[in-house]
Symmetry: C2
Subunit: 141 residues, 2 copies
DNA sequence: GTAATTGCAAATACTTTGCCACGTA
DNA sequence: TACGTGGCAAAGTATTTGCAATTAC
């Protein structure tokens, strides 16, 4: 866990980003949450709310996404969700359209073959995918 | 094509919606485009731009989505894209993150089995999925 | 005639940016 | 010291709503 944060910070340093408190806490928050989070959620989270301005979180998210440390996802209500990219890791998500709960799916992702096929046929560069399942969770139903 | 529009209008009528020019043209536009469209795109499209206000298109999209005639997708830059739901039809999409081009993928969708598995295990109601591939198209690269 | 639908304009809700101060390297 | 970062507040953008007028049925 802490290991993952340390590694991510190191990657940031290599990319020329400065090691600031806001950067560390942002990454730690995302790692701890174990799920994608929005700007609003992050900015209001315990580690960040007192520490820095929302605009700072916003710009951090931009910077980290540009540098490939984070990825921005659509997920729920078309809000921007951010998640830490970990080499070799991929998640699909299950989202309750009632309460907005988001959880990562543990089952293996069945689309890598199709992704390869598309990569070859279409010659798109930097291809990746997002797979989301939507429904009403038992609690909302 | 015209057939699909007629059918969709009929479904709307059955649901108690009134047959207005705006409704017909909106559905026709969506069917002709053969791809999901945003509120802005729809409102600015030839068939609708002169015909009705953006707020009307907005409210039509809301109503049609609530009634299950349309579905709202995430796709690109977290804008809301709308697509006509046709019973038995499902599309996955390939999106260029450079120019925003969106195309439906013709290959069969490989996630239905996983969807069934999730439906059973989690007891979510009304489960469906979205699968998007993102990359840079040859023209943008 | 009645209730759904629409236009226009105003109100939200976020996202994004400018500018100067600050802190890391 | 220099340049990436951060705070605060303003600007921008798209979505959403109120209300009176209109239209489908």
């Amino acid at each position: 866990m802490q290991q993952v944060v340390t590694l991510a910070v190191a990657r940031c340093r290599e990319l020329g980003l400065r090691r600031t408190k806001a950067l560390e806490e942002l990454l730690a928050t995302l790692v701890e949450a174990e799920r994608p989070m929005t700007l609003a959620e992050l900015s209001a989270s315990p580690r960040l709310t007192e520490l820095c301005d929302k605009a700072t979180v916003y710009r951090l998210l931009q910077r980290l996404t540009e540098h490939g440390i984070l990825r921005r996802l659509g997920l729920h209500e078309r809000a921007a969700y951010f998640t830490l990219l970990q080499p070799g890791k991929h998640s699909d998500y299950l989202i309750c359209t009632g309460c907005g709960k988001i959880e990562a799916i543990k089952a293996p992702c069945p689309v890598h073959e199709l992704e390869d096929e598309i990569r070859e046929k279409t010659r798109y560069r930097g291809l990746y995918h997002e797979l989301e399942f939507f429904g009403i969770c038992p609690r909302c139903a």
